[in-house]
C-alpha cells in the first residue's frame, strides 16, 4: 500500500463516517430534524411517507407511482395544503426487496415521523411494510396491491384498487347480462393464485346468474402448446372462453384458438394489460374483452384532466399504476381533512368511512375489509387496440 493509496482510503473512510454521523443525529436528539432535503418538526403539517421500488426489477412500478404521488402532493399544496399546512412527502427506495421495504418503512416512521404511508405496488412488499405500519399504528394505503392478504394484515391497512377475485365477478356479470351468454368455457393457469382466484369467482358468479360453465381446462405458465385444451373446448357449446392468465400465454392461446377454428371471443382480466399482448396475439384477439382498473378512453372528466396534466408535466401518458398512486394520495388527504387531525387512529377511522370518494381512476367506497368497492372497466379489443366498452359496478 502506497502512501497515496492510504490517504485515499482515509478520505473514503472519513466521508463514510461523516455521512453516518449526519444520519444518526435525528435519532439521538430530541428534535427530529430529518436528513437530506426533508426537514420535519412537530408543528408542521401532514407528513406522508412513500416507499417504492425506484430501482431494481420492478423499478418502473415504483417510478410511475411516485411521479403521480408527487403530483397529488403538489396539487394539494397548490390549493392550500391539508389542515391549513403544506403536505410533506418523503419517498424512499426499497429496491423491490422485502428486507429493504421493511427498513424503509421503519425509517419513515422512526426518523421522518410520517403520519401516514403510501406503498407498495407488489403485494409481498406491501405485506412486509404493512405489518410494521400496523404494529406501529400508522395508516397505510397501498395504491395497487391486489392480493387479498394485504389488507387482512390489520385495520390500519387500506388499498384503492379492487382485489383480484373481484374481476371474475365483473366479467361474469358482463358476460351474462350484457353479452347474454349462456355457456362459457374456462382455461386457467393452475400454478397462479391470481388466475385460479379469478376463475373461481367467475364460475361462482356466472352460475349464480343462471349461466353454465361448459368446460374447465388448465395450463401452466410457460407452456407453449395449447392445442389439446383448445380442441376439447371446441367440442363444447361454449360461446366464449374465459382465460384469466397473463398476456404472454394469452396471446399464444388466442392464436391457437383461431388456428384450430375456435371462433368465440376470449374474455380475460388485467393480466392481459400489456402492449406485448398484441405483439404476441396479433389479429387473433380481435373481438375479445378484458376487465381492467380503468380505461384511458373511458375515464371520467376528472381522470381525463389528470391524464392531461400528467402528460404536460412528465411528457408521457400515466399508466394505470400512476392513476392509482394519485388516488391513494388524494384519498389520504381527503381522509385527513375529514379526520381534522394528524392522529393515526383518527386518520384510520376516516379512511374506513370513505364513501363515494371521486378519484381519477374511479369512485371509491371502502368496505368493511378496507378494500374499495369500485367499478371496473371492460375493454374490447378492436383492430389490435383496447377500446373502452363498459363500466361494471360492484
Amino acid at each position: 500500500m502506497t502512501l497515496v493509496g492510504r490517504r485515499w482510503f482515509c478520505i473514503a473512510g472519513a466521508a463514510l463516517l461523516a455521512s453516518f454521523s449526519a444520519c444518526k443525529k435525528p435519532g439521538g436528539g430530541a428534535a427530529p430534524g430529518g436528513s437530506g432535503s426533508v426537514t420535519t418538526n412537530e408543528s408542521s403539517g401532514l407528513i406522508v411517507g412513500h416507499y417504492a421500488s425506484l430501482t431494481g426489477n420492478t423499478a418502473h412500478f415504483g417510478q410511475d407511482t411516485d411521479k403521480a404521488v408527487r403530483m397529488a402532493v403538489d396539487d394539494a399544496n397548490a390549493s392550500g395544503g391539508v389542515l391549513g399546512k403544506p403536505v410533506k412527502l418523503t419517498t424512499l427506495d426499497d429496491r423491490g426487496d422485502t428486507a429493504e421495504a421493511a427498513s424503509a418503512v421503519t425509517r419513515l416512521i422512526d426518523v421522518e415521523h410520517v403520519n401516514a404511508l403510501i406503498g407498495e405496488v407488489a403485494s409481498s412488499l406491501s405485506l412486509a411494510g404493512g405489518r410494521i405500519a400496523q404494529r406501529r399504528g400508522i395508516p397505510m394505503i397501498s395504491p395497487s396491491s391486489t392480493n387479498p392478504k394485504v389488507t387482512q394484515v390489520g385495520d390500519y391497512i387500506f388499498r384503492v384498487c379492487f382485489i383480484d377475485p373481484f374481476q371474475g365477478k365483473v366479467m361474469a356479470t358482463f358476460a351474462r347480462n350484457t353479452l347474454k351468454l349462456d355457456e362459457v368455457a374456462i382455461l386457467k393457469d393452475v400454478k397462479n393464485d391470481y388466475s385460479i382466484g379469478l376463475a373461481d369467482t367467475f364460475k361462482a358468479s356466472f352460475t349464480a346468474l343462471g349461466g353454465k360453465i361448459a368446460l374447465e381446462q388448465s395450463y401452466s405458465a410457460g407452456d407453449t402448446d395449447f392445442s389439446a385444451q383448445v380442441t376439447a373446448i371446441k367440442a363444447t357449446k361454449a360461446q366464449a372462453l374465459y382465460v384469466p392468465g397473463y398476456y404472454s400465454e394469452v396471446g399464444a392461446i388466442a392464436r391457437t384458438a383461431r388456428r384450430l377454428g375456435l371462433k368465440v371471443p376470449l374474455l380475460g382480466g388485467d393480466g392481459w394489460d400489456a402492449p406485448e399482448l398484441f405483439s404476441i396475439g396479433g389479429d387473433a384477439l380481435n373481438g375479445s374483452y378484458y376487465s381492467n382498473h380503468f380505461a384511458p378512453d373511458g375515464a371520467s372528466p376528472k381522470g381525463k384532466a389528470f391524464m392531461a396534466a400528467f402528460k404536460q408535466k412528465y411528457g408521457t401518458e400515466p399508466t394505470g399504476l400512476g392513476m392509482l398512486g394519485y388516488d391513494a394520495a388524494a384519498l389520504l388527504f381527503d381522509a385527513v381533512k375529514r379526520a381534522g387531525k394528524l392522529d393515526g387512529a383518527a386518520i384510520r377511522d376516516a379512511l374506513a368511512q370513505t364513501k363515494g370518494f371521486e378519484g381519477v381512476a374511479g369512485t371509491i367506497t371502502m368496505d368493511k375489509d378496507r378494500n374499495p368497492e369500485k367499478a371496473a372497466a371492460i375493454l374490447k379489443i378492436v383492430d389490435g387496440k383496447a377500446k373502452y366498452e363498459a363500466t361494471v359496478g360492484p
Binding site: 500500500m1 493509496g5 482510503f9 463514510l16 437530506g36 429496491r95 428486507a99 405489518r131 392478504k149
Partner: protein, 339 residues
C-alpha cells in the same frame, strides 16, 4: 500435567461464556431502550450479515473455492426454520406454557432445524460437485441456488411466489432479537475460528494454496471441502432462520442470485480469508446502504462507486488477511497448547 491444566481451562471457558451471555443480555436491553427501532433493525441486519459473511468465508476465503450459491442455503434455513417455528410453537407452548421461555425454545429449535437442513443440503450439493474447480464449481453452486429458489416458487405449502408467513395475519412471530442474533454471531464466529485455526483449518488453507500438493501430502481434499461446505451451509441456515423471524415473512425472491453476490461483496470488501474481515464486511454492507438511503435511486450508484474505490485502493480488502482483535486471544491460547 495436561489433565491438571485442562480443568481450570474448562472452568475459565465456562466463566467467559457465561460472562459473554450476561454481557449480551445487558447489551440487548440497552439497545432496546437506547435506540429507535430503525437503528435496532440495522444492527440486527448487520449481525445476520456477519454470520453469512463469516460462514461463506470458510469456503471462499479459507478453502479458496468459489461458491456463488450461498443464498440458496440461506433460503433452505429460512424456510425450514419458519415452517418448524410455526408448527412447533403450539406444542412447545402447551408443554412449557406460553411465554418468553417457550418462544426461546421454539426459536432455537427452529434455527437448529434450519441449520441441519441447510447443512444436509450442503452435503448433497457438495458431494458430487466439489470435485470441480474454479469457474465450474461456481456455475454448479449458481445453478443450485436457482434450483432452490424455483422449487420454493412452486411449493404451494410454502406459499409459492407470494412467500411464507405462517397462518396469522401478522406474519411470522418476531422472535429475532438483539440477544439471539448476537448469541448466534458468537457461536458461529467461535465455531469458524476454531475450525480455521485447527489442523483441519490448516488443511483447508493447504487446499487453497495448492490442491495438488495438498493431495500429495495425503490431505483428503474432497472430504475436507465437503466439510467446509456443509459447515458454511449450516451457518447460512442459521442466518436464514434469524432473517425469517425478523422479517415476519419470506419469499423466494428474497434469496435471489443478487443476495449471493451481496455476500461475496461482504467477504471481498472485508478481506478474503480473514474472519474479522468478513465480519467487518458484513457490517459495512448493512450500514453503508442504510446510511445512503436519502440518495434515493442514486444510492446504488454511489454504493457501487464506493466498492470500486475500495477495490482500487485496497485490493486485499479492508483488513486483508489479518485478523483484528484475535491477536490477544491467540497468544493466550498458544501457551497451553505449547505444553
Amino acid at each position: 500435567m495436561e489433565a491438571a491444566l485442562k480443568k481450570p481451562r474448562w472452568a475459565l471457558r465456562a466463566v467467559v461464556a457465561a460472562a459473554a451471555i450476561a454481557g449480551l443480555y445487558a447489551a440487548g436491553l440497552g439497545v432496546q431502550a437506547g435506540f429507535i427501532e430503525y437503528v435496532q433493525r440495522i444492527i440486527l441486519l448487520a449481525g445476520i450479515n456477519v454470520i453469512l459473511a463469516v460462514g461463506l468465508n470458510l469456503i471462499n476465503g479459507t478453502t479458496g473455492q468459489f461458491s456463488i450459491g450461498h443464498a440458496g442455503f440461506m433460503a433452505v434455513g429460512a424456510y425450514a426454520a419458519a415452517f418448524t417455528g410455526v408448527h412447533l410453537a403450539p406444542h412447545v407452548a402447551s408443554l412449557l406454557g406460553a411465554g418468553s421461555t417457550a418462544d426461546a425454545v421454539t426459536f432455537n429449535v427452529a434455527l437448529l432445524v434450519g441449520a441441519l437442513l441447510a447443512g444436509a443440503t450442503g452435503v448433497l450439493v457438495g458431494l458430487p460437485s466439489l470435485r470441480l474447480k474454479g469457474d465450474y464449481l461456481a456455475i454448479v453452486t449458481l445453478g443450485f441456488g436457482e434450483i432452490i429458489r424455483i422449487l420454493l416458487n412452486n411449493a404451494q405449502f410454502l406459499g409459492a411466489a407470494t412467500g411464507y408467513s405462517g397462518d396469522s395475519a401478522a406474519g411470522l412471530p418476531a422472535y429475532t432479537s438483539f440477544f439471539w442474533v448476537f448469541f448466534w454471531v458468537l457461536v458461529v464466529v467461535a465455531l469458524i475460528r476454531n475450525v480455521t485455526f485447527s489442523q483441519t483449518g490448516r488443511s483447508l488453507v493447504a487446499i487453497r494454496e495448492d490442491e495438488i500438493a495438498a493431495e500429495a501430502m495425503a490431505t483428503p481434499t474432497t472430504r475436507l471441502k465437503v466439510l467446509a461446505f456443509t459447515l458454511s451451509a449450516a451457518t447460512a441456515g442459521i442466518a436464514g432462520g434469524l432473517f425469517a423471524h425478523m422479517q415476519s415473512g419470506i419469499r423466494p425472491e428474497d434469496f435471489r442470485f443478487d443476495k449471493s453476490i451481496d455476500m461475496i461483496v461482504m467477504i471481498i470488501v472485508g478481506g478474503l480469508g480473514s474472519i474479522s474481515g468478513a465480519a467487518l464486511g458484513g457490517i459495512f454492507v448493512a450500514v453503508t446502504l442504510e446510511v445512503m438511503r436519502d440518495l434515493q435511486q442514486y444510492r446504488l450508484v454511489l454504493y457501487a462507486l464506493l466498492l470500486i474505490v475500495i477495490m482500487l485502493v485496497r485490493p486485499e480488502g479492508l483488513l486483508g488477511s489479518r485478523e483484528l482483535g484475535l491477536a490477544l486471544f491467540r497468544r493466550s491460547s498458544k501457551k497451553p497448547g505449547a505444553t
